[in-house]
Symmetry: C2
Subunit: 287 residues, 2 copies
């Protein structure tokens, strides 16, 4: 594995891969890698000739009250994990190279898919995500880009970015990695008390229960949401949201139809957990 910080060195490496006709799988991250990232790298390794992972804690996606400085960083550990996962190039650019000059000439605003779920309380967050991904996509020129469905809203925004601008990139959305009992893996799970850790799998169980209800023929969004809510209310966590939207458009749904996301956020004493399930009615009907 090569670790590259210099942008022009990355460009050279990319030109070389392209001249050899090699496909490029790209895994953009903010580092402090966990099993979710490594699953993305695994998948990229299986599907492409070359795997490039970036580690860049992107200042543009942190709000003024969000802790950019305190975001955890451990580049040595990350490099070892990335190499082990079969990454060919680990791209670790400097902020002053990614955002040269005092001010931007051009900015991107994500107009849709952002004012719901976690985006509602993070104004400008997805603009920063779209800006840095546009830069990274133009530098890496990936054949495929890998994102985890744990952050399904980010996947929806990236889908909108790629399709609006006709980027020649295949977006690969990878299923959430779970513990054996169904709890979505997250670095925040360690902040759960022993009691909360026992309750936490109910989030996914709630989502599954709603999905089964739909499978059984329920077509009323209220009833579907209520079923999930009742299960989550048996935990000690406080529900931040349980919402159902079309996916990836993230528009309200009046009737259960097409492809949808059911997403929850629940605040436990020291950890706010999120989870979601993508439900495709058309696939269900086909089965």
């Amino acid at each position: 594995m090569r670790q590259i910080t210099d942008i022009s060195q990355l460009k050279e490496a990319i030109k070389q891969y392209q001249s050899e006709g090699r496909s490029i799988g790209f895994v953009p991250t903010m580092g402090f890698l966990h099993e979710g990232h490594l699953t993305l790298a695994d998948k990229a390794r299986q599907e492409n000739d070359t795997v490039i992972m970036s580690i860049f804690v992107n200042p543009a996606q942190f709000g003024p009250n969000e802790d950019f400085e305190a975001y955890p960083r451990d580049i040595e550990r990350d490099a070892a994990l990335a190499e082990n996962a079969g990454v060919d190039i680990l791209f670790t650019p400097d902020a002053h190279d990614m955002y040269p000059g005092e001010r931007r000439n051009v900015t991107i605003h994500v107009e849709r898919r952002t004012d719901v779920l976690c985006g509602r309380s993070r104004e400008g967050h997805f603009d920063g995500v779209a800006i840095v991904l546009t830069k990274l996509f133009n530098l890496v020129q990936p054949t495929r880009a890998y994102f985890g469905l744990k952050d399904a809203q980010q996947v929806a925004v990236v889908d909108g970015l790629i399709s609006d601008f006709f980027m020649d990139i295949e977006l690969v959305a990878v299923d959430t990695v779970r513990e054996e009992d169904g709890l979505a893996k997250s670095s925040r799970n360690v902040y759960l008390t022993a009691e909360e850790r026992k309750e936490a799998p109910k989030l996914y169980r709630a989502l599954q229960t709603s999905a089964e209800l739909i499978q059984a023929g329920e077509r009323d969004p209220e009833a579907v949401i209520k079923a999930a809510k009742e299960i989550i209310e048996t935990t000690s966590g406080a529900i931040d949201y349980i919402e159902l939207y079309s996916y990836p458009e993230l528009e309200p749904v009046n009737e259960i139809a097409g492809k949808m996301i059911l997403a929850v956020a629940v605040a436990f004493s020291k950890a706010r957990l999120i989870d979601n399930i993508i439900i495709d009615i058309r696939e269900m009907e086909r089965i």
Copy 2:
């Protein structure tokens, strides 16, 4: 020459060129081609294996009071001219393919280089330019993109777009094509009266006089602007602006230094003419 309207057909053609390792010169236009466009195509023909011209009257760059519907179109004449200029693919997409869906997911805002010169009175114009060029660049994947310096502000905005987002494109700015007497070629020149047509070359003469003054050692921006102004005031036209900025940043200059643009807009009875000159002090000093 192939004329392609379908986006997926264009993508196929581009993939083919890329697999053959051919360089692509791209000339984006809104059609109704004149000698300026054909000069860009000529230059692209000389410098690239393949020349792609697009004709797309981009609704996003017209303001609510600007006449998108009345913008002149003559695709048959344009196709003949493009073929004659050695264009390989004439890309003429439909608006509903370039802007599918009811609303955009993502938009681009140009934050700098737009609130001066002609951009001052055309709010949102350059946002529309940046959006459509991002789409076209991603579709055509050009090695080089050609723009005329007659619209030097557009060149500055495109330069900002390409550099901010690390687009892998060489921007080629092509000198303004002029009549023998120095008047910048423009489809609007036909609206000049015979008397005005005789006066009109004074715009360029004024710009040149200022440049010569700088060459001779003048370093006060006011004096440089005044010299041009005095010459233009001998015409019957009304001065809209005479302005001096750093180029391509388009920031005010307190002292004559580096690379600058001196630009004028003058309203005659039925035609508003624009012209500009790029002055590079460093090149002058080298000579």
